[in-house]
Symmetry: C2
Subunit: 259 residues, 2 copies
């Protein structure tokens, strides 16, 4: 039987709130199996860009990463947020090691083609080096990944944190019985976006198609769902979407995705 | 016989110049034994602080690290510079892993007492975790340390990069025959600060006292010399001070320190 491993991804809205982040990290530590954290950015990068007079351009709700934007997200994600999370976990007795994709070549990516839209220094994941990630895990380290990867030619690339989490989970599934947990501000996927208690407890791929066609699941939720089903189709055991308190107490409302 | 290991420290003036940095990294890679890099900051942090309207206060030439300054150096040293160096080394085939002292608890420090001068979030090194650093080295990773440490209670601390380099070299000397190389913009310790060719080729501890009393060695050079002799007194095999090209070609002018 394979050892259990949990990959947890937290988004910006948790990182933006130091109380929420601290509560999450307490929950994360209590997961008693090997684990990996992937974190996104949050508003610090946007605020810093604004202060520096660096424009943030968007295309259809997606951020375009200029050279200046890349420097800002590298500083904020791989520097400030990653090291603060790592130091906080260390203080709580959790042997965290903060990493970017460039470190020990853990995650390589390719710059997204400039056609039809030039997203700038944005990467699409190429390879997850599960052997080196496993070396950390096997030596009782808890990898904490920021969403900065590299192209193996010296270029750093801003990469989607949801995708990093699913690709790591898939890659680690060769050796581990891997669960993937997307943590965000809501209790799960909601039937009614205005009703926090309308969590859909289970969604299979058929339900998903139906919810999507009825526009109950839309916009920003779609890539997360696509990543989730992609993970399930590639040997990840379980995918859950919910708020941070449900990573330990799985009786709490959350959405469980199944094929 | 112990395996050779080289600890190299580069300062801000190399980091500030991308051509110099690239040339240094080429030299660093050619060192054919296990190696560790420690890097300082450079002017990027000062420039970023200025842009953000964050004041940099100094006391007797030493920087006082406020909470805002700490965030800036964490972003710049542990984020931007550390990840750019790591990605560049990876592109050159060197399996670099960028670390801060908080990562895997590699280096812990204590906040410098506020009396008589409150330097703010500045750390004095407490412990080097040579076991975990050796785990990286043993697995063919090249640790790249930024000068950000932690106090094991969740606080990041700005720490002197020269001291980190000497403390790592001392700690690794238990297992390795360790050389320490301080790289900076000059060819070595100069007899005449205005004559680049007046490199003092060898300085022993007696010479040092004499050069210090004659004020030939003064100011910013003193802490580097203190760190060097401290390392030699604690089982580091060799300490050299010079410019980057001399790390491979030791026939080039540089200063060799001996007890």
């Amino acid at each position: 039987m394979k050892t259990k491993l949990t990959v947890v991804k937290i988004g910006g809205e948790i990182i933006n709130n130091s109380d929420k982040l601290d509560a999450f990290l307490e929950d994360f530590i209590r997961l008693d199996q090997p684990k990996i954290l992937v974190h996104g950015g949050g508003k610090i990068a946007t605020e810093l860009s604004k202060k520096l007079g660096i424009k943030t351009r968007m295309h259809e709700g997606r951020r375009i990463t200029s050279k200046e934007n890349l420097d800002v997200v590298t500083m904020v994600y791989a520097g400030l947020i990653n090291k603060k999370i790592t130091a906080t976990l260390q203080a709580k007795g959790c042997n965290a090691v903060g990493l970017s994709g460039a470190d020990a070549n853990c995650i390589s990516a390719t710059k997204r083609p400039a056609n039809p839209i030039d997203y700038g220094f944005v990467g699409d994941i190429e390879t997850i080096n599960s052997k080196v990630i496993d070396l950390f895990v096997n030596n009782n380290m808890i990898p904490i990944f920021s969403a900065i990867c590299h192209d193996t030619n010296g270029q750093l690339l801003n990469t989607n944190a949801d995708t990093i989490a699913s690709e790591i989970a898939i890659s680690m599934s060769k050796q581990y019985d891997t669960d993937l947990f997307y943590c965000f501000e809501k209790k799960g996927v909601l039937m009614d976006v205005n009703d926090e208690n309308s969590v859909i407890e289970k969604i299979n791929s058929e339900d998903y198609q139906s919810l999507k066609s009825k526009k109950i699941i839309h916009d920003g939720m779609l890539p997360k769902m696509e990543n989730s089903f992609y993970a399930l189709n590639n040997k990840v055991s379980k995918v859950m979407i919910g708020n941070t308190s449900s990573i330990n107490n799985r009786d709490e409302a959350h959405t469980l995705l199944t094929l």
